[in-house]
Subunit: 201 residues, 6 copies
Amino acid sequence: TPESAERTAVPGVATGLAVTGAGGDVLFVEASLADPESGASGLTLTGQLGDVMKESARIALSYLRSRGAELELPVGDLKERGVHIHVPAGAVPKDGPSAGVTMTTALASLLSGRTARSDVAMTGEVSLTGRVLPIGGVKQKLLAAHRAGITTVLIPARNEPDLDDVPAEVLDQLTVHPVSDVREVLALALEPAESRQPAGV
Amino acid sequence: TPESAERTAVPGVATGLAVTGAGGDVLFVEASLADPESGASGLTLTGQLGDVMKESARIALSYLRSRGAELELPVGDLKERGVHIHVPAGAVPKDGPSAGVTMTTALASLLSGRTARSDVAMTGEVSLTGRVLPIGGVKQKLLAAHRAGITTVLIPARNEPDLDDVPAEVLDQLTVHPVSDVREVLALALEPAESRQPAGV
Amino acid sequence: TPESAERTAVPGVATGLAVTGAGGDVLFVEASLADPESGASGLTLTGQLGDVMKESARIALSYLRSRGAELELPVGDLKERGVHIHVPAGAVPKDGPSAGVTMTTALASLLSGRTARSDVAMTGEVSLTGRVLPIGGVKQKLLAAHRAGITTVLIPARNEPDLDDVPAEVLDQLTVHPVSDVREVLALALEPAESRQPAGV
Amino acid sequence: TPESAERTAVPGVATGLAVTGAGGDVLFVEASLADPESGASGLTLTGQLGDVMKESARIALSYLRSRGAELELPVGDLKERGVHIHVPAGAVPKDGPSAGVTMTTALASLLSGRTARSDVAMTGEVSLTGRVLPIGGVKQKLLAAHRAGITTVLIPARNEPDLDDVPAEVLDQLTVHPVSDVREVLALALEPAESRQPAGV
Amino acid sequence: TPESAERTAVPGVATGLAVTGAGGDVLFVEASLADPESGASGLTLTGQLGDVMKESARIALSYLRSRGAELELPVGDLKERGVHIHVPAGAVPKDGPSAGVTMTTALASLLSGRTARSDVAMTGEVSLTGRVLPIGGVKQKLLAAHRAGITTVLIPARNEPDLDDVPAEVLDQLTVHPVSDVREVLALALEPAESRQPAGV
Amino acid sequence: TPESAERTAVPGVATGLAVTGAGGDVLFVEASLADPESGASGLTLTGQLGDVMKESARIALSYLRSRGAELELPVGDLKERGVHIHVPAGAVPKDGPSAGVTMTTALASLLSGRTARSDVAMTGEVSLTGRVLPIGGVKQKLLAAHRAGITTVLIPARNEPDLDDVPAEVLDQLTVHPVSDVREVLALALEPAESRQPAGV
Ligand SMILES: [Ca+2]
Ligand SMILES: [Ca+2]
Ligand SMILES: [Ca+2]
Ligand SMILES: [Ca+2]
Ligand SMILES: [Ca+2]
Ligand SMILES: [Ca+2]
Ligand SMILES: [Ca+2]
Ligand SMILES: [Ca+2]
Ligand SMILES: [Ca+2]
Ligand SMILES: [Ca+2]
Ligand SMILES: [Ca+2]
Ligand SMILES: [Ca+2]
């Protein structure tokens, strides 16, 4: 979609799905690393995130800190560069564990320099060992993805039965990948390393 | 205007627009960097800022910490010099994400040594990647800018439809720039580097 | 069981037992150590843990920090690598001292590289000197272990009398080990060092 | 006055004016720097100060940290010496931004070694760039200054209209300086450097 | 008693006495020092301790930090080794100053390597200079000690008059030492250095 | 008195006076410095002190950190040795600014090695520049001092008029020194340096 294409044009942004008061919605998780020259360190979380969602960010970061080398990510970048994860819109309170996969993807995109695919959205809790755990609101989230022009959606394998509730005409226009490990998410959601493009293109 | 000319006579001050109980108002975001000799570090926020507005300041700072070098800003200055962002008046509680562009501009002014243009006011949320997101209160803010003698206003591109609500006689006397990236804000709001003037002139 | 086999396929995960509103349940305690390259330090606790359960994690860590060398664990790994303990599901509040043995086992598994046995579940408070103290809900926990296909359960020695309340047909299918020192737990719950397997097998 | 003469006999003390339940009152802002041998650092604030007044102290300190060198103050003293600002009486809660000029003066007195003039009292909010912003309670504050034997009062220039409310017989006995920059305050309130006297004289 | 013999078999555990809703009870204070290799530092307090009891732990530690060398304790061990004090049971809230002597004894046992005598229990507030101050509940505490098979009890000298309330048949079977300085407590409660035994014997 | 003689037998303890629900009472402020070998640092405050009383302790410490060298106190001892101030009894909440002189005296006694005179008790707020400010409860405090066998009492000079309320027969048996600077307090309350005695004598 135009919106998600613009948002994910730079490494560090991934497209998630949320349940809101008004059904479902697309959200963008943004991650940045401070210039090592600028002296920042630690983890900054913004976007009026609730307790559970802040914990999701810490889990995503610890997952990459302990498993990143296996994934060939330059985890040394996390050492002396401040990490910031933000979820616009800034004034809207957000909570819950289901942005875990999106946070992990945004951070992995940032570290790898590979942008996220703009046609892919995702939802799922992540455990500390990288397992993708089931979440709620599959129907509303898929309807929101469809409305936003997303064509590929990643959901937890254990949520596959919930696809029965999604209208067939929507499901027909979406490619849904049930996943059980966050490594599958990264493989499906990040552009190949060789297609890396200059920011803004 | 005389007020904003005095306020923005030194680098580190930018003119924002806020919605208040009594309509709209002009506000000034002030930023300072401690003398490296004085041993300060970290970020200090004052002006009775609410949670969302404090997050806006952290986003502005992280944006410059990760993108500042591209913008040819001396981000190394952020390393061992304490940053302080203050929004007078000191006793008035303030909140919301719409000072994001103003905070980013005040910090960029401070780092670059370029003063902000005193005829320009601005409003807009900033995301961590520098996108300018829509805000509320466009009508009240433009009326306040006009009352204060401001002649140029920067608003989020996605707020352009709200200009319909602004009285034509006000709009006629304002140059309104819809912007979608904070780099446009900096280009429009900061004086050129070559016109840098001694403080107080 | 398939679930616990998948979960405990990597070092750092142990199977616990909890009392919930709906009887008992199996829970997994996950522990990770940050790559020393990534610069993390300290202890991170997630999973919406209550005060008492957070203290259990600190006791488990201090036990290993003071007694780990006697157990031939490489405690130096704790020095410059951030420790993270997480208990999914991320949005479910959890509390109480009875995950002490499970937390100690997850950390010892991580440090030793020995995976936890997937047919073993455990419950028990741990004191700072490693004593296993009695807990509540033995009946519900053993029923939950049985339902989940667990075949071996470790309980505090001082809870042995509570086995009278467990239906005989369940007890017949479980091997129950009453334990009084957490070293007995580690001996029973961790795979032998020589059977160490590559993660994911 | 005898009271303010005793209080301001040493560098680091300035005379302010406050509105209280019982009208107005004189207050003394005290600042100290720890002996570098004693190993203290950071900023300590005491006197049961409210949020806004604590922010005033941080603004005063940041102003001197960023502009102190221009004012020929030895800001390096702030590096490894703990700063403490106290406002007696210790048990009386105090709040509001109007002690900003007094806090800045007390700190500048301390750094310069120049005592504050005991016949001068002051009130005014200070912005991060050193502008003096308007405050409330001008009438009560001038009456209190007069009662206390103060002969010179510094007020924000934008509060000049409030002088209309002050009884003529009081105003006749006071020299009132409207000021708009804190540098004017320092010039008017600190004794000249050459008249520096031993403490206690 | 068997229970206290098992508990105090290792250095770092001392037997205290508490007043509970159901009369009095024996409690065990456990202390540990992290392996210097493991990189821990600071003081960790667990066991759902209230404000006053946490302060008792800090007083016990400061007493040993300032007076430990006089007592020939290796206080250098406190420098780079994390100290943890825990009071089981983990889920039971505890408060009050009367575990001061027990905390000091547990820490001194840990530092000296001398185990606590398993036939001795104690109660008393400790001041920062090591004075033993009076506490409440002498009668309930002595009854609990007697029930638990303890034969020697240390109480504050200023609580001696409370012994009148203890049944004679209980008092006959207890040796009660009134003490006024915590050094007397350590002399009476710790095994002699020469009888130091391997842990677990 | 026997009590205050025992308490003040070691440097670091001074005798104060407090107003309680039941009239007035004598209290002892205890201060300790950690052995530099033990690695402690910072300021620890215990004794269930309220906000105002904690601030008094910080003011006392800052006073000595900035003025200690003038008083020939070895302020370098404050650099790498943790300071702890405790006010028994540990479970009794205490608040108010009037222990300021007692806290300053306890710390100065500790640093100088001069014990406090056991026949002297004191009350008074201290400002950051060492001025002694007036307090409440003079009558109750002097009655309590008299009951406790104290013979010399130090009160703020500005509280002299309150002596009118003290019964003549009590006043006759007390030497009352009105003081206005904390240096007078130290001169009157500390034993001369040459009479320094071994602890416990
Ligand atoms: Ca919550
Ligand atoms: Ca993309
Ligand atoms: Ca300008
Ligand atoms: Ca809020
Ligand atoms: Ca709790
Ligand atoms: Ca396994
Ligand atoms: Ca003066
Ligand atoms: Ca407030
Ligand atoms: Ca409490
Ligand atoms: Ca023993
Ligand atoms: Ca309070
Ligand atoms: Ca003495």
